[in-house]
């Protein structure tokens, strides 16, 4: 009997679930061997390289002179201008249907006549090598007439400010508020009122691999193929089809291995659009990747807000009112297609959300300024909301002489208070458990004691706390309803192949999070096959089921549920086939380790045999229409906009009040992200997120001068967190499964960042408290610390 017809041996092992186990990623082996295939590694045959001439000015008019010198520079194929591109690629405008007042100026692939931020691409050089393209930049003849830029939000909203862009009627990009109860009355009658003001420095995401595209338009088939280092291939497919007036089915976007993204690679950028349009225009293959210098003046910027906030409490320390207002500096346009508003809106929505706040007035405004457009960067606004509330609570605890754990505990929301439908998303949080757990994890009394002892010796340690709640698994409400063509869901198509491999095509992409390993664990458990029989494929609009990609902590939360549902479908279909074949009922069958058996009975066949039967010899079955062995399912949260996760973070820092240095000694996270599919991968996502938060709080800052020009556009001067300054991070979990899905997983990708910024604010100000000074400006550089200590205005 040939091997493939032989009955498989039942694997006599007790079933073990893979979900919940720390399974290492097979992809990691490939990546650790130098076999990653990132954008610049994709061998596209002969390609032309693009370098951009970028605006040196924040605001200017320009006239292009004679470009023939540049065009005849060695290796140059073509010089392309904004005018050249408008012929085939119209400018685009970000519009959000739920925010009709948010009016963005249009954005061009290459600037035409005027520029609106330093770094805006103006001219493209297409050459045989990147080096030759850069050489030609020097020869570009261009006349500049620089104008007065709008450098910050305060200026933008002042009465005599110039407009950031002539298409605007006002520089005010966004104005929203939330009002609940009577905040004025609450503050008037309050026993205790505290306040704090916050400055969150402008920063950017710095994925180590730059953004980029390889684009190829085949004139014969009229098909456009774009490789892109990106988080949302379907979104980009839609955008290229629309911008270049092509049928959607003639546009294919592929994402190879992505070397870090963090939200920065979620957007549609002018330079990438220009590169793709150039491919279409010239019908030659082109490659463009942003180098480090360009990244600082083109990657989405983030945070950049000043917030002032007040908290009112009664004499028992119960919150009676919260008031906060934030002013955000966006960029010169609202980044396409999701807009620059997320940071502001999420501060508005999440500040204080973990707490009972009877009266609340939150307000945010966002202004256009002549700087790099801002957009989603890990955790988007939520870290700011958490930092604001937690700092206020610390200030209140100090004023009321209350324990900082106690003041949080007594004010946390409880399910009993969540009576409205709109509060449904806040039910089932584990705020108190996380609080109690972290207090034990960090051995708070011992830390406090050491702090006291060291204070006596003029060494200032601070202990910071930051409760956080977090929007994860974000689904339909933010995208389709806003008119943004980005999928509300994640999808999985499972296919049982004739080799016995279970091929999983998914829209849930990743850049190292390990989503695909998680999906394989779920599929293996649900279907009953070994994990190494599963092949997960993603990043190709031609073969993926339509879905989102990777953002908003939803890859595994949504994609995992889709995988579970699809695996259930496939399991059912497989068992239907075997039931019909063996004349038993489905209920009598089980699948384990790829083997279908009668429960407590004999082995029936392998999954491979089922597939071969269905594909090659299905008439053996008494089923005229055998069920499909290719199933597809999607998932998006239905009854609510997102899954709410929660947790708490704590930091121990030491502030050197002579040098201004802040050292992070230790860090703790207690996270509730529901079902933890793979603790190894989840914990490392948390740690990475924490370090990005610490980086924001202590190091990272895009520093601009008054002319709207960045002064530190290099890794020498923009300080990202490196190993020697970062602490070990202790992570533990509470698990409150998400109720809406069978999987029960909430998202966790951004969690570390959501709470870390606030934990550092809380810790630094705790350290400074005995000196009677406080810090208000992030990053907490030595200058910021010493300015506070020296009580400088």
């Amino acid at each position: 009997m040939s091997d493939e017809l032989k009955l498989p041996v039942r694997v006599q092992l007790r079933p073990q679930t893979l979900v919940g186990r720390s399974v290492p990623r097979e992809t990691a082996r490939r990546l650790a061997s130098g076999r990653g295939r990132y954008l610049d590694d994709v061998h596209g045959g002969e390609v032309y390289h693009i370098a951009f001439y970028r605006s040196p000015y924040a605001r200017a008019k320009f006239t292009l002179g004679d470009l023939s010198a540049a065009a005849s520079s060695p290796g140059v194929y073509r010089i392309v201008t904004g005018t050249d591109l408008t012929a085939i690629c119209a400018p685009w405008v970000t519009r959000l249907e739920m925010l009709p007042d948010h009016v963005s100026p249009p954005e061009y692939a290459l600037a035409v006549d005027e520029v609106y931020w330093q770094g805006e691409p103006v001219v493209a050089v297409v050459a045989k090598t990147r080096a030759q393209a850069e050489d030609a930049l020097d020869a570009i003849d261009i006349d500049w007439n620089d104008l007065e830029p709008v450098a910050n939000a305060e200026q933008a909203l002042s009465l005599d400010s110039p407009l950031v862009h002539p298409a605007l009627k006002s520089n005010l990009a966004l104005e929203r508020e939330i009002i609940r109860g009577d905040v004025d009355a609450a503050f008037k009658g309050a026993a205790c009122v505290v306040e704090h003001h916050f400055s969150f420095g402008r920063q950017t995401g710095v994925p180590l691999e730059g953004r980029g595209v390889i684009a190829r338009y085949d004139r014969r088939t009229e098909e456009l193929t774009v490789y892109q280092s990106h988080q949302a291939p379907f979104q980009m497919q839609e955008i290229y089809a629309k911008q270049l007036s092509m049928p959607l089915s003639k546009v294919r976007v592929l994402c190879p291995d992505v070397g870090g993204a963090f939200g920065i690679k979620l957007h549609a950028y002018a330079d990438e659009m220009a590169a793709v349009a150039i491919a279409r225009l010239l019908a030659v293959p082109v490659k463009y990747q942003a180098d480090r210098l360009e990244s600082f003046v083109s990657d989405a910027h983030a945070r950049d807000a000043v917030v002032s906030a007040r908290l009112a409490l009664d004499s028992q320390g119960c919150i009676v009112g919260l008031q906060y207002e934030g002013l955000f500096s966006f960029g010169a346009v609202s980044l396409y297609p999701r807009g620059s508003v997320g940071e502001a809106l999420q501060l508005l929505e999440t500040c204080g959300l973990a707490y009972k706040v009877p009266a609340l007035h939150g307000q945010v405004r966002g202004a256009f300024v002549n700087k790099v457009p801002t957009g989603a960067y890990r955790a988007v606004g939520q870290p700011l909301g958490a930092a604001v509330m937690e700092q206020l609570l610390d200030n209140a605890a100090d004023k009321l002489d209350m324990d900082r754990f106690e003041i949080r505990r007594k004010n946390y929301v409880v399910d009993a208070d969540l009576v409205n439908d709109s509060d449904a998303k806040l039910r089932g949080l584990s705020l108190r458990q996380c609080l109690d757990t972290i207090k034990t994890d960090m051995n708070y009394p011992q830390l406090r004691q050491r702090q006291e002892e060291l204070r006596a010796k003029r060494t200032y340690r601070g202990i910071g706390l930051c409760t956080f709640i977090e929007q994860t698994g974000v689904g339909a409400w933010l995208y389709g309803r806003n008119g943004v063509a980005a999928a509300s869901k994640e999808s999985v198509r499972l296919h049982l192949s004739t080799s016995g491999e279970v091929v999983c095509h998914t829209s849930a992409s990743e850049s190292g999070q390990g989503v695909h390993t998680g999906l394989a664990q779920i599929i293996a458990d649900t279907l009953g096959c070994p994990m190494d029989a599963i092949y997960v494929r993603t990043g190709d609009t031609l073969s993926d089921p339509v879905g989102g990609g990777s953002w908003a902590s939803r890859g595994l939360a949504l994609g995992g549920e889709a995988a579970r549902l699809a695996a259930l479908d496939l399991r059912h279909n497989v068992l239907s086939v075997v039931a019909a074949w063996k004349s038993v009922s489905i209920d009598e069958l089980e699948i384990d380790h790829g083997v279908v058996s009668i429960i407590d009975g004999e082995v029936a066949c392998s999954l491979q045999q089922v597939a071969r039967l269905v594909h090659y010899d299905s008439t053996v079955l008494p089923l005229p229409q055998p069920p499909s062995l290719s199933v597809e399912r999607s998932y998006t949260p239905f009854s609510k906009p997102y899954f709410m996760a929660n947790g708490i973070q704590a930091a121990e820092v030491e502030v050197d009040i002579e040098t201004g240095q802040v050292k992070v000694l230790d860090f703790w996270v207690v996270e509730d992200c529901g079902t933890v599919v793979n603790p190894l991968l989840v914990d490392e996502q948390i740690r990475g997120g924490v370090v990005q938060g610490i980086g924001a709080a202590l190091f990272e800052h895009c520093v601009y001068d008054e002319a709207g020009q960045i002064t530190n556009a290099s890794l020498a001067d923009y300080l990202v967190p490196m190993a020697a300054e970062m602490p070990d991070i202790q992570v533990s979990h509470i698990s409150t499964p998400e109720q809406e899905t069978g999987l029960g997983a909430k998202g966790v990708g951004e969690a570390g960042t959501v709470g870390a910024i606030g934990a550092i604010w809380s810790a630094v100000n705790d350290a400074l408290r005995p000196l009677g000074v406080s810090a208000h400006k992030q990053p907490f550089t030595p200058d910021v610390i010493l300015s506070a200590v020296l009580q400088k205005a």
Binding site: T129, R130, A131, E134, D135, D291, R292, L293, D656, E658, T659, G660, Q661, F699, S714, L719, P721, M722, A724, E725, T781, P782, D783, L786, S787, L790, K792
Partner: protein, 291 residues
């Protein structure tokens, strides 16, 4: 960011290299470690018509003790990494040994050179500060003048401006061997490990009996060149090495910062005071223990 084009040559001897420097009629750069030059070229902030790669000149290699035992000679191609593990440096030039911990990162130390750092004279760099503190000797070679020696204290003129002429190569640094009763200390304040110094201090304290014979304190990162404090030397001469003296000297060092050189002089002075005091306290403690 790709470097602009240049012509390249790779002489095998110092004479050849000096000859090339002498005859070049255009923008010539010497390529040693490249850890400062090449980033600048990649960023298109520096360019060269001719790059003279001196990495194959055998005579530039090696750390040796001079015949009279008074100097440790470090050739132009000696990498930071070699200096960091050199037993000769550890024994005879402890100040430099201590400073090496602050120099860049492992991969950069494997290529970057002491002489390269001295020739560049970045105000926040460790080697120029040590050279000032110890009054090391910089050895220059040119076709025109052959070999000439310049004491460190006559070498650093201003920001990236040294006594080295365009037609000269810094072929060697000679560190004076520390003598009996010499105590050193080094510290710097930087945002992250290996970053350039916000403020740094290099100290060499020569005891005479139980008192200070001579004290060299150099602060760096606070002005265009490393600053040797003559006033601190005056104050310290003949004094017992006490904590109180350390405090006084630190205040003096801090006071010497020129407000025109820094963004916020109050902050810089506070930082310089703290770092200087901590180093001096430690050095003086060692001095005191010795007696």
């Amino acid at each position: 960011m790709k470097a602009p084009d240049f012509n390249y040559c790779c002489p095998k001897t110092a004479e050849e290299a000096c000859g090339l420097l002498a005859t070049a009629d255009s923008d010539v750069r010497i390529l040693a470690g490249g850890q400062s030059l090449v980033p600048a070229m990649n960023l298109r902030m520096a360019s060269a018509d001719l790059l003279i790669d001196i990495n194959r000149i055998e005579a530039f290699k090696g750390i040796t003790l001079s015949e009279d035992g008074k100097w440790v000679r470090v050739g132009a191609l000696v990498r930071h990494a070699e200096v960091a593990v050199s037993p000769l440096i550890a024994e005879y030039v402890p100040l430099v040994h201590k400073a090496m911990r602050y120099v860049a990162h492992p991969a950069v130390r494997n290529r970057g050179t002491s002489c390269g750092s001295l020739a560049l004279a970045d105000p926040s760099a460790e080697m120029p500060a040590c050279a000032m503190a110890l009054n090391a000797v910089l050895v220059l070679q040119s076709k025109k003048d052959g070999v000439r020696c310049v004491p460190a204290r006559n070498f650093f003129f201003g920001l990236y401006d040294t006594a080295r002429r365009d037609d000269e190569i810094l072929i060697e640094v000679r560190w004076p061997c520390s003598s009996q009763g010499s105590y050193t200390g080094f510290d710097e304040l930087s945002r992250r490990h290996g970053d350039f110094a916000l403020v740094g201090i290099a100290v060499e304290c020569q005891l005479k009996g139980s008192r200070i014979g001579h004290l060299n304190v150099v602060s760096f990162g606070t002005g265009p060149v490393p600053r040797l404090s003559e006033r601190a030397a005056e104050i310290a001469a003949g004094q017992p090495p006490t904590q109180q003296l350390a405090h006084q000297l630190a205040a003096q060092i801090a006071a010497e910062i020129d407000p025109d050189d820094v963004a916020d002089v109050d902050i810089k002075q506070r930082q310089a005071n703290a770092i200087a005091r901590r180093v001096l306290v430690q050095v003086f403690q060692e001095c005191a223990h010795a007696n």
